[in-house]
């Protein structure tokens, strides 16, 4: 049973496999014809309690392509939050002015709470270190588009697997599609056991590595993430590993023809710029896919596409 209309999206696990695939199908329709003005009678609120460039612009772009109007703020300093208004009051007020609320908030769990109190649906655009489901959907869209299917893929996840929320959501989602996971990280930044349990509970396999070169020959997707220095208790430890996962163009000579390099962006130095012109580099196209996916979500939740 697919049921997306009027439903908030807080966590990728809120959606079944069929619901994920339906969103991706609708996104494909928007990739074929992006300027479908089906949102002309709607107002979308975009509440960014902390700064974000990519996600906010991607959502705003999605609304504009659909012909809708957008209201909101780009950081909490320009909102009533600064006067001490509670999140609940902000949501209840803004829901009077809009048909749907897109929200980013630095507090973990703020999106679930907002979805409980809001009379209009909420799309979580990132709640602290917790969830970022639209990033996950655009990753899935990019993987399906480049590989033809989401089923039975060899997925390499590289970098900070401990703290990276996009990695955790992606593991949860790809566990629905019979993926095999190849986890490349420094020992101190391994995938948490709770996330590995998802893989095991789905009856799937994962393998752990410390060398990026070990996974390049057989991966279908190489998902790179940034290693954040501030995560390390010991700065020396960071110095040791910070450059251990720099993907260079020359390293891809042994890779499969169909492999694609993904990255949630922004990158710092983990993908060398000499990879950018390689047809296997897909991270900027991946960001573009985010607009189609967000158009699809908004349309589906407002019942404008089924």
């Amino acid at each position: 049973m697919i049921h997306l209309k009027n439903r908030s999206l807080v966590s990728i696990t809120d959606y079944s496999k069929e619901e994920i695939l339906r969103v991706l199908d609708i996104a494909e329709d928007f990739e074929r014809d992006q300027r479908q003005k089906i949102l002309t009678n709607h107002v979308i609120a975009s509440l960014f309690f902390e700064p974000s460039t990519r996600t906010r612009l991607s959502f705003e772009s999605a609304v504009q392509y659909l012909g809708g109007s957008i209201i909101g703020f780009a950081n909490a300093d320009t909102s009533s939050v600064r006067k001490g208004e509670s999140l609940k009051d902000t949501i209840l007020t803004v829901s009077n002015y809009s048909d749907l609320i897109v929200m980013r908030n630095p507090l973990d769990g703020s999106a679930r709470f907002a979805s409980e109190v809001s009379p209009v649906p909420i799309i979580n655009a990132g709640d602290g270190a917790n969830q970022h489901p639209t990033q996950c959907l655009l990753d899935l869209y990019s993987i399906r588009k480049t590989q033809g299917s989401l089923e039975n893929l060899q997925i390499a996840l590289v970098g900070d697997l401990k703290y990276g929320r996009t990695v955790h959501s992606l593991v949860q989602a790809l566990s629905l599609f019979n993926a095999t996971f190849h986890l490349v990280s420094p020992v101190s930044l391994k995938l948490p056991s709770g996330v590995k349990k998802w893989i095991k509970d789905a009856g799937l396999d994962y393998y752990q590595y410390t060398e990026l070169s070990d996974v390049i020959p057989f991966a279908d997707i190489i998902y790179m993430t940034r290693i954040q220095g501030e995560r390390f208790p010991d700065p020396l430890e960071y110095e040791k590993v910070k450059n251990s996962y720099v993907l260079e163009n020359s390293m891809l000579s042994s890779s499969k023809e169909n492999v694609r390099i993904l990255h949630p962006l922004p990158r710092v130095n983990e993908i060398s710029e000499n990879v950018d012109d390689n047809p296997k580099a897909y991270y900027f196209q991946q960001a573009k896919n985010g607009v189609y996916v967000r158009q699809a979500l908004i349309a589906a939740i407002l019942g404008l596409k089924e």
């Binding site: 507090l107 973990d108 769990g109 679930r112 709470f113 917790n130 969830q131 349990k197």
Partner: protein
């Protein structure tokens, strides 16, 4: 001697509830969770009583009051082996071990300082889950972090 006196106290209750086999160190915690400080009924309690099962145990008797299962099951987080005894007209009507609930609201604090429940007026909600060693954990319904039993703090 102690054992005999405990039994005497139980049988002395005409109508009400006895909660037995509480770990001694959590007797006051159970008091708090069930909000017994604020009820008008007579309440008796003992702690550091000898127990074959627990070594030392606590016991609470509440006169004239009966609890719904979901209310009493809240104490399972601190007293998983507690026994609930219902007494009517001096007779034991029901005696059962309490069961762990699958969900608890506004009893436990989330250990994640960045969780919305620690920063806004949001009552906490947790689901009880079990890890692959069978250990009980609490999963915050908001921030989705899980806590082990030893990390539990009460609201």
């Amino acid at each position: 001697m102690n054992k005999k006196r405990t039994e005497l106290k139980v049988s002395a209750l005409r109508n009400g509830t006895v909660i037995d086999h509480i770990p001694s160190e959590n007797t006051f915690r159970v008091f708090q969770i069930l909000n017994l400080e604020h009820i008008p009924d007579q309440v008796y309690f003992g702690t550091n009583l000898e127990s074959k099962k627990l070594g030392k145990k606590g016991i609470i008797k509440i006169s004239g009051k009966f609890f719904a299962p979901e209310e009493i099951n809240k104490i399972a987080l601190v007293a998983p082996k507690a026994t609930l005894i219902e007494i009517r007209e001096y007779e034991v009507q029901k005696k059962e071990q309490i069961a762990l609930p699958s969900h608890v609201e506004n009893i436990v604090k989330c250990m994640n300082p960045k969780c919305v429940t620690n920063n806004q007026a949001v009552p906490t909600k947790f689901n009880l889950i079990y890890d692959h060693h069978g250990r009980m954990k609490l999963a915050c319904q908001y921030c989705e972090k899980t806590m082990a039993q030893e990390d539990i703090w009460f609201v």
